[in-house]
């Protein structure tokens, strides 16, 4: 009888100890360590990498290397487009006016390529919907010594291929 009571007491203490270890979050066992890691997440400093996917390096918009050197020339080629007005006196006038518009477009494209474009944008969103979208671009430049390479006129559309040769001397003065 004494032995049976002793065995029951030992069993109950062992079961209590095991139950305490199971619910103790800061115990010394390996299971308790994993629960600790998951309960307090930390920010990972390394980016998540997918297998066999190269990481993309940020693009340097202003390279230190000079595009124009004393021995090198840069050729910029564009195609300007222009249309003739709806009312013209003759096909010749339509051609002349469309060509003038195409040349202006060519000048604009050259200026955009060489000097750059200023872009401004504004979107108005109300109730999760775009109410008004507004994009404005502008170019301001001085273009000289642009050459007309080829002119085509078809169905009221005039296309002018133009080019400009940039050399170091043009910008060094």
């Amino acid at each position: 009888m004494k032995y049976s009571l002793l065995i029951v007491a030992l069993l109950s203490t062992s079961s209590l100890l095991s139950a305490f270890e199971l619910f103790n979050p800061f115990g010394d066992s390996e299971d308790s360590e994993t629960t600790k890691m998951t309960s307090t997440p930390t920010l990972q400093t390394h980016p998540v990498q997918i297998a066999d996917t190269p990481t993309i390096e940020p693009v340097n918009m202003r390279p230190n290397k000079n595009l124009l050197t004393q021995t090198q020339r840069v050729r910029v080629s564009v195609i300007g487009q222009g249309v003739s007005p709806t009312q013209t006196a003759s096909p010749a006038q339509a051609y002349a006016l469309a060509k003038r518009a195409a040349i202006a477009d060519g000048y604009r494209l050259i200026a955009e390529k060489v000097k750059g474009v200023r872009v401004e944008g504004q979107d108005l969103i109300q109730n999760m919907m775009i109410k008004r979208s507004f994009i404005r671009t502008s170019v301001n430049a001085m273009v000289k010594n642009a050459n007309i390479i080829e002119t085509t006129f078809k169905d009221g559309l005039c296309e002018v291929e133009m080019e400009i040769v940039l050399s170091y001397v043009d910008f060094s003065l």
């Binding site: 007005p85 003038r100 518009a101 477009d105 671009t137 001085m142 273009v143």
Partner: protein
């Protein structure tokens, strides 16, 4: 009373001055400006102003253009007769471009203005040719 030799020298001087002034009058200076507007890829407006300079211009001579005069003495008429050639030459000289684009609710409009700012040109008009030289 003047001697005969004195009159002769006076006549020579007068003729020399007359010749010089006539040569100088032939080479005159003009102010020219040009501007055209292109709206939505179509030519909208074009202006070319030519006027005689009221005072002497300064600057170095640049590349010249030679236009046929067809016995015309007026620069405006000479330019009108050779308009395309002259406009192409002005383009080569250099134009200032001011372009503006607007896209409102995906509807696109554009305006380009090309301008030659008022520039002084030295003009020599002869019987058959007019030499036009910009001064910068």
């Amino acid at each position: 009373m003047r001697s005969r030799d004195g009159n002769r020298t006076f006549l020579r001087r007068f003729l020399f001055i007359t010749l010089l002034s006539s040569l100088a009058l032939n080479a005159s200076e003009y102010l020219i400006s040009y501007r055209y507007v292109v709206k939505d890829s179509a030519l909208y407006n074009e202006t070319l102003y030519v006027s005689k300079a009221m005072k002497k211009c300064d600057g170095k001579e640049q590349e010249s253009i030679f236009l046929n005069t067809d016995k015309e003495k007026s620069l405006k008429k000479i330019i009108t007769n050779n308009f395309e050639e002259f406009i192409y030459y002005i383009h080569k000289l250099g134009l200032h471009i001011n372009h503006k684009d607007k896209t409102i609710n995906l509807e696109h409009t554009s305006t380009s203005i090309l301008t030659l700012k008022t520039t002084c040109f030295k003009v020599d008009i002869n019987d058959n040719l007019a030499k036009i030289t910009p001064l910068k």
